[in-house]
Symmetry: D2
Subunit: 317 residues, 4 copies
């Protein structure tokens, strides 16, 4: 996940669309070096933002490139029709970016940790991708008309001890793909984007970004082939929730709503749409459940079976 | 999970210890009808709160009874020694509450949803509990000295369509246990409690509490046998984070720190200890990942294999 | 799973269709008290076997009733079209058995253990079923036209210590459903049926069957409402593989093929269709992986970090 | 998993100890070029087999090298004491093979597929390994005294489309480890070895072996650094069960036990120790459960909610 591991405490969004709003919110006018285009489709709208010069890079906090954002609020509900419709729009934009002739090899990278639910989007996509590259040698007739596709879920730095970009670079040198598609779970600033926004970018991706770290970048510069990044926000940094809340309150305050009663109004404004279903939890929730569960199990077992020697019990828990 | 499903939007804690702090914070003095005792152990401290009359019930928002809270900040790190030490303290208090003679049947109930990670504590404990009841008939020699223990993970209302208490009552009438131990993931007000606090209570538990709903209660009144509840906070309601933040800021503000710059100071105060590892995410994060993953997979497949007929591809995804 | 836990070692099939073949194979003629009907559909064929009298019950080793077997070899490949087509046939037969008017409550029971992959079919269906019963009270407008459906995955005897039928009976008395649909993973005799055969029966089901155990039966007799059982074979008892192999060899032998060389021919005959993808493994494969993994991890860590004190390492593994 | 994917149908064991027994069984005498040593420990015995020349390689079907086999039948039961005791023996042999001075980097490779239970041993070990390499740069004080360890779970050919050895070679060139430890689930010939035998080898490993494929080998020859392989049998090829059974029967037969009644005796001889807990199932059991579950869910939903339009239902399932 992009901004998950950042050690510096910062209020970050992985979405160019949100970065634009943040900058505009502060300055109140168009951003120099940033262009923008809107498209509307039955179940989604698309915004194409281009960051075109160094100044725009700095202001937006994102590298130069094209950022295509698909907003599809209906993705919140599981509907095959909406999924197919949004997939069609995604496919169309990918086709334009990929420009495949049929002879290329595509390497799909699933970033993230398959055992931490909010971070498992990339590995989950890889697990279900239609893989063909290994069949071209052994069963070429089965893949006639198909493109050569391979995939890797390299894991995260905390699990591997190796920069993810280093792993990918090693594999790229062996496989020699023509293009990389990297899938990652993103952090958004706005909770309404969780699961409903898809960002496609052509400027690469930095796992654990926020911290500037050129070595960690997965991009044309570091890989030698085009990198298309596809991401979906699955989390909001808890601190951003705090910031949003304070700013909402501050806006009220500056309108003369200075009484603490507006605290409740602020919270209602921010969270009402989610019916209390948003939770704050540590990233390591799986470990937390396992540790707490083991402690409780041990305690219960010791308390209940008092006549059984402790060592015998410990061997059974 | 206790306060997860509440439809009313409310700022709730499942911990009696936090309820006491909230009440005290507002009134600034001891609470009538509430007694309190402190104990200290090598790796944890214990607070025993007794809610003794109707007035205390109302003020605290919890039914009459004893609430034993074990605070063990070191549980955050996975240490077998700390786990065993805390389990010993837990076992000691459970023994006092259970008062078993060796002849009783204990029914362990794992509340929550095994497929929603933050809500899976109860089912996870049940999955690993030492179960003996079925052996007393078929292999009595194997369970000599053991207590009769059985267990159930009944699921949650959204999955079963049946009030959890209704399921348990049905099973209790068949199994006729002498005591119930119910395990549940809790919601706390304070993020530092996630995974580090264990609450033991003798007044029962209401899944999806907050909403007053007598039918849903799992207690001596509804089950006819004592109910010991054991819980660990795994989530904080995202709105509570907002409220905590606003209150922290408001305190600064009332000290004359009125400039927006204190927004950042506030956020640092609240989140610093967690190094940005706290995330806000919907409860339905597993579904979100699955839906988003499927949409992206479809889009990628359509974009890459352009020469393959769409219907053939759709059958393969 | 039906015949998983049987303590007596026996060569068992949960499928009436296979039982018929076994009996016929031995006697070579029609079975008295057993009727049979065939239907053919685009992607599947259906055989309806009726066991009509006590003699037939004994010979077939199954209680009186109707057994509808859907055979759909294409289910082996993941094809939404085939799945929908088979689901339509299943739906049609279920409609006939259920005879719903719209006012009934249906209780769906997912038998099996959600943490043992080959045994997780029932819980997996329950996890994804459309549940409506709880909405009739709180959101009746959302479920207009819908039937009232609730569900339970009660677990298995080894996890709960309670006979599964006991749990269900308790819940049935509370919920008062008009009909029960019980889903279970089955054991087949023939490996080609794994995942490709669906059996629907109206005579109930006995978890851990094979052993005669009236208390454990989930049927009209024990529940007081009709019980429709739906099952899919996910495993073959390893001993049945041995038996099939020996019989195949014995048939060759009786044709004069007495040389050990026919051992290889026999194995090829039995396993060729599966390209070596069939494995023999203990039911407790998840536990096996966990235990072996922990032992190896400990060994590796001790071997690698030789300068770190053992106790410090043990706390980290 | 070593011999899982083999396309040629063959009766294979990944264990040198079993290969020796098979060869000896056929020839009845010591094998030239193969040495052997025995050790005994409280909870396990160790056999060290050395394959020393080309002839021995051919006869044994394994490359030259040392194969250390730890047999610990008690690993079947979950006992922390036994696990620690076996881990100690494993650690001692690993130390001898690794000969670390403290300055080396160790790369741990978890072979296999994390989403196919019987094949998940390698990824499961990687997920829980103590990883330190990334800390040497950022938090060197935290890893004083520790060895530099990194890890990768590269996936399997069917998921990645890339030869696993190719992926590892790419990563090795970037990380430049001094030694590789590769963990894999193995296939045994003898069912009693499932989960109870650990093999350590210094001659490398070939995922999907059996098929001779030099490119796929993970060894000193292909990686340029020593490769220690650690494996545990988790499956037996179903065909091997058939073969074992036939041979057992054939032995009886040659002693004059020619009647079919000895079929049952044979099966009892082979399977008795496992109490019917051994199952035959396809490797793709997870997919099987998912596909069958979806089909049944669709059928049930269609059958129950007859008044709801089909399209509305299909969008909900």
């Amino acid at each position: 996940m992009n901004s998950f591991n950042s050690l510096h405490y910062h209020l970050h969004t992985d979405l160019a669309l949100e970065a634009r709003d943040l900058v505009r919110g502060a300055t109140g006018r168009e951003i120099s070096g940033v262009s923008e285009e809107q498209q509307t489709f039955p179940h989604c709208s698309v915004t194409i933002i281009k960051i075109m010069d160094e100044n725009a890079e700095k202001v937006m906090g994102k590298p130069r490139g094209t950022y295509i954002t698909i907003e599809a609020p209906e993705l919140k509900f599981k509907s095959p029709d909406v999924q197919q419709s949004v997939a069609d729009v995604l496919a169309q934009h990918l086709k334009n970016l990929l420009q495949l002739t049929g002879q290329e090899t595509v390497l799909i990278i699933g970033l993230g940790n398959w055992q931490a639910t909010p971070d498992a989007l990339g590995p989950s996509v890889v697990q279900n991708t239609l893989i063909t590259r290994h069949l071209f040698q052994h069963m070429p007739e089965a893949v006639e008309n198909y493109q050569s596709v391979c995939a890797l879920a390299p894991g995260v730095l905390g699990i591997t001890g190796i920069e993810t970009a280093e792993i990918i670079r090693g594999v790229v040198e062996k496989v020699q793909p023509n293009v990389i598609i990297a899938i990652d779970a993103l952090a958004a600033a706005n909770i309404s984007r969780l699961g409903t926004t898809i960002q496609i970018g052509d400027s690469g991706i930095t796992p654990g970004s926020g911290v500037s770290n050129k070595r960690a970048e997965i991009s044309y510069q570091t890989m030698g082939v085009p990198v298309i990044a596809i991401g979906v926000p699955t989390v909001v940094n808890a601190a951003l929730i705090a910031k949003t809340t304070l700013e909402t309150y501050f806006a009220k305050f500056s309108q003369g709503k200075q009484h603490p009663v507006y605290i409740q109004e602020t919270i209602t404004d921010v969270f009402e749409p989610f019916h209390g279903s948003l939770i704050v939890t540590p990233r390591e929730i799986d470990d937390l459940i396992q540790n707490a569960g083991r402690t409780i199990n041990t305690g219960i077992t010791m308390a209940i079976h008092q006549k059984v020697p402790q060592e015998e019990l410990q061997a059974l828990i």
